[in-house]
Amino acid sequence: MKKYFPYLLKYKKALWLAPLLVIVDVVCEIFQPALMSKIVDQGISQKNLHYILTTGGLMVGLSIIAIAANVGNIYYSSTASVGFSAELRKGMFNKIQQFSFSNLDKFSSSSLTTRLTNDVNILQDVIVMLLRLLIRAPLMLLFAAIIAVQINAGLATVIAIAIPVLSTCIYFLLRRGFPFFEKMQKRLDKVNAVVQENLINVRVIKSFVREDFEKKKFGGANEDLREMSVKASGIVVLIMPVMQLVMNVSIVAIVWFGGNKIIAGTFQVGQLMSFITYITQILMSLTMLSMTIMTFSRAGASSERILEVLNTEPDIIDSPLAKEKDLHVHKGKVEFKNVFFKYHADGSEYVLKNINVIINPGETVAIIGATGSSKSTLVQLIPRLYDVTRGNILVDDADVRNYTLQNLRNGVSMVLQQNELFSGTIRQNLKWGDINATDEEIIAAAKDAQAHDFIMSFPKQYESILGQSGVNVSGGQKQRLCIARAILKKPPILILDDSTSAVDTATDAKIRAALKLHLHGTTTFVIAQRISSIQSADKIILLDNGEIIGSGTHNELIKTSSIYQEIYFSQQLKEVDQV
């Protein structure tokens, strides 16, 4: 709870005004039945027209005040709840901006999105309820009970019995219903998962003619869900009729005992009428209170998910020393010194072991190795996307941890293997590399990445709108846009992580040639599968299982490393022979 205070702080005024207005509303409403009974018992029996009119006028006046109080309450509770959710969303969003890659790996992106949208909305509803129902219902209950006791303490016994009876009924219904709801949710998730998989796998299903198999699978999951929904909803819908029953029985009791008292002359008809109204109000408030509490407990899960985000401490941050030094990357020298790395501190095996390598400014380094040999991991340590577990990485002879993240990453441009474009124009996307880039610079970068020609073939050229994740360009085009974006940054260090896998070989060669020509001062890391893409590198690092098992130029490796030979011949030998 405490964690949420900062987000509410801005709305302090609303937070105390809203409950205050609820009190005004409840007071106005609670006296209505009592006044009505006075009209009947005093006005009518004494035939006092003036009394009837003034009391009626008072009732109307109270109602008007109640309307004003209500509108005010809703104004303030809306302001506070919506404001709270906006602040909370902003807080979470900013928090996520500070997350490191390993923080991000802990959450899936769809789960983070849900937390920022649905979960926050649920808390917003909770705040509204808190400022309205949760205060109103108990107040109503309390005031109505006090007035009822004052009208006739004896009759109030009925209320004293009805309240625990109804509470117990609701408690047992909810206790029985809750586990069903949880199960229902699980089964619903299952149904949705089947649908989701079917949508993704539609080609597989069709090509293997598995429609009937899938229908059966879905039918089963669906039937399970139906069964549990009937159980779960079947219980909750009982709450209202049960309340109705308790209420009606209490009314009957009041009519009986009250009627007898009237006959005995100790009670009046008007009082009987108001008493019936009070007991109705009391039991309704009780039910509302229990429903509100139920909603609250469901929101608990959302709150937990939100707190999980807020409580995650970003594990890669600027050190005070780094801020003070304010180093910038200029030359582009990179050195790995006894680097060990694992993703989880408690993981048993290192993914990278004893990495030692020095790359001089302007060199092109290629990294090659089997799937899962930690090539991507290695390069991601340079811009501190992850921090080393042991050892040091030096950029321009300073430990990467002595740079601010901003300065370090501005000096290191990277094309990720799983790269993303954002909705917006091509120009806007490219400008991520350099927000102040001129048109000439953008076009030059696009030309180097071999993207300019296809961009110009679009009707709107650089102003073409890309869909989210660049859905409307092909895989190869997307990769070339990502490369253009990265080189626009003109960084001292450029990292290309398997970034031309969907580009055909001829184009790939052209990109490499262009980079060589225009980025010759840049230290370049290339991860690739094709030997052809890396053959001309100044240095080739051969990784296997997280260890460097060979490094040198192509000509050196081909002589010294049997594995390198193997890779090389697997790609080329036959063709070379045949040529």
Binding site: N70, R89, Q98, V204, V237, T371
Partner: protein
């Protein structure tokens, strides 16, 4: 005497999510209701019972309130205790009957509603199974998912409670008015003056909140979209140090949402309390005027008491009708969207005289095939090719040249605009589609797996395969070694589309899946693109073995994997510009030569 109550009346007054429903409206309510009715009709008898129970419940509530009049007039005021006791038992009986009816009515409605929902869900799923790929190309997954989640939920909620509640409220309201007129037509006039005022206020509030809700939804959509996109691309954001820029952008749309949401919440929130307090004014006026009538015109006290009960009850059904009306509207809008999908045209059925493809040899021929996803935009131009049984045909060319499109035509994922495709000499349009698809297996570029064990995932290729067949296939595909290293081996459960496996491992599983199917025709679309060359070489042997005796169509950008093809087709802009064996194409020194030498500059 009790006030009609309902579970939904609680959240209805909240300025919460229910308000969102203002946004949508079915375009053709009558038709949608009729179609929903067709589903509900299947349980006509239960529905009749429900309506009967609902009538009992409403009537007992109304009668119960009315009985206050004779109780006061005939028994309490004349001091008739035995008579009062009799009336009390009558009242108790009536209320018990009403409550029992209420309980059964609610439970039965859940049964009917959930049964109906389950049928709709099945229909929707089955229809989606039968739709052509073109449908999936043109619809976003998220949007289709929301039919299964949001839209179905809306209908489910409505059927669970809104429909009966709506009916009950309407009945109660008309019942109350009838009873009021019966007790005192003159006093009813007071209520009839207030009612138009209520309606006027309600319609004004609804009009405003509709407007604000629409703009809130737009703003909410913008926030959600932005969040989703930026979170998905968060790693890129970090690489480019773009955190502050997007935080600024987010702040702007977030505060825009705050403004619009506050307005929307305000207007939707005031609806219920304002109506209720207007009703209190009605109650107050009725009490005062009723008092005057009692004094001046001799209105009986019991009558006044009963009338005041009705008057108090008046506001609730008004509130409920307006809120349930909105939730019904959104349910109808959801139903309409579901029916839209149900109305989509499924894959063209087999011709009546379609023949099954049996003892497939795998002789494939394309003659002058023209095709475009959009008939106006022809992508493949005049494609002619022949793959004799057992041959390996390779397709190379730059991205977007139409390689994948060609392979999609063979299983009739799409039908061609003109030309002819034959398998074993028979036009594929004249074949039973399922038998055609069963005789070929595809390994696709996008690898997807199901939530199930590794064993089950591979077995997907041939459901009746034994464990041994599955393992043999995995060995052949080179997947066995990593599978056996998984904690539970073949029984390891894959989740999240095989999220715990590397891209390469997933491709191996896909190859194993195709292997176990033992098809006559094999289509490999960049099947090994994410496998490193060494591993690829290891599985290449298996692949070669797999392709042995099978006709295979192979797409690869790594030319080393296709050089041993019987014929290589070089595609550009949807046309085959060169064809021949690897050696012949190299001699031509054309596009293939360029592609090939591009690798070794």
């Amino acid at each position: 005497m009790s006030e009609p109550t309902n579970i939904k009346s609680i959240p209805a007054g909240l300025p919460g999510r229910r308000g969102k429903i203002f946004v949508e409206k079915p375009r053709n309510s009558k038709q949608v209701i009729f179609r929903l009715w067709k589903y509900l009709r299947k349980q006509k008898i239960l529905l009749l019972i429900i309506v009967a129970l609902l009538l009992i419940n409403t009537t007992t509530t109304l009668v119960g309130s009315y009985l206050l009049r004779p109780i006061i007039n005939k028994y309490i005021l004349p001091h008739n205790i035995p008579g009062l006791a009799r009336m009390i038992f009558l009242l108790l009986g009536i209320y018990l009957l009403g409550s029992i009816a209420g309980i059964f009515q609610n439970r039965l409605m859940i049964v009917v509603a959930q049964k109906t929902i389950s049928i709709i869900r099945i229909d929707l799923f089955n229809r989606i199974q039968s739709l052509p790929l073109k449908f999936f190309d043109t619809h976003v997954h998220g949007e289709l998912m929301s039919r299964f989640t949001n839209d179905i939920d809306n209908i489910s909620d409505s059927l669970n409670t809104s429909v009966t509640q709506f009916l009950a409220s309407a009945l109660t309201l008309s019942g109350i008015i009838v009873m009021m007129i019966y007790i005192s037509p003159l006093l009813t006039l007071v209520t009839l003056v207030i009612v138009p005022l209520m309606l006027l206020v309600a319609s004004q509030i609804i009009k405003r909140s509709k407007k604000f809700f629409t703009s809130q939804q737009v703003a909410l959509g913008a926030v959600n979209g932005f969040v989703e996109e930026m979170i998905t691309g968060q790693k890129v954001v970090k690489v480019f140090c773009y955190e502050e820029n997007i935080a600024k952008e987010f702040e702007a749309i977030n505060y825009d949402l705050r403004y619009k949401a506050t307005q929307a919440q305000l207007y939707s929130g005031v609806m219920m309390p304002v109506i209720q307090n207007l009703n209190t004014i009605n109650f107050a006026l009725t009490a005062a005027v009723g008092g005057l009538l009692a004094v001046l015109k001799g209105l009986d006290i019991g009558g006044l008491a009963a009338f005041l009960q009705y008057s108090r009850q008046f506001g609730r059904p008004v509130n409920e009708i307006s809120s349930e009306y909105n939730s019904l509207q959104s349910a109808l809008a959801g139903a309409e969207r579901i029916f839209e999908i149900l109305d989509e045209i499924p894959e063209i059925p087999d011709l009546p005289d379609a023949i099954p493809l049996k003892n497939v040899k795998g002789d494939i021929q394309f003659s002058n095939v023209m095709f475009g996803y959009d008939p106006d935009k022809i992508i493949l131009k005049n494609i002619s090719l022949r793959a004799k049984a057992g041959q390996k045909i390779a397709f190379v060319g730059s991205t977007g040249a139409g390689k994948t499109t060609i392979t999609n035509l063979l299983p009739r994922f799409y039908d061609i605009q003109s030309g002819l495709i034959t398998v074993d000499g028979i036009d594929i349009k004249k074949l039973q589609r399922n038998s055609l698809r069963s005789s070929l297996a595809m390994v696709l570029q996008d690898t997807h797996l199901f939530t199930a064990t590794v064993m089950e995932n591979i077995r997907y290729g041939k459901l009746e395969a034994t464990d041994k067949e599955v393992i043999d296939a995995a060995i052949l595909a080179g997947a066995d070694s990593f599978i056996t290293r998984l904690p539970k081996g073949y029984q390891s459960i894959l989740e999240n589309d095989g999220g715990n496996l590397s891209q390469g491992q997933r491709q191996l599983l896909n190859i194993a899946r195709a292997t176990v199917a033992k098809p006559a025709i094999l289509i490999l679309d960049e099947a090994t693109s994410s496998i490193d060359t060494r591993t690829e070489q290891i599985i290449q042997k298996g692949m070669d073995q797999l392709m042995q005796g099978r006709t295979s169509l192979v797409i690869a950008h790594r030319l080393s994997t296709v050089h041993n093809a019987d014929e290589i087709m070089v595609l550009e802009n949807g046309e085959i510009i060169e064809r021949g064996t690897h050696e012949a194409l190299l001699k031509q020194k054309g596009r293939y030569y360029e592609l090939y030498t591009g690798q070794f500059d």
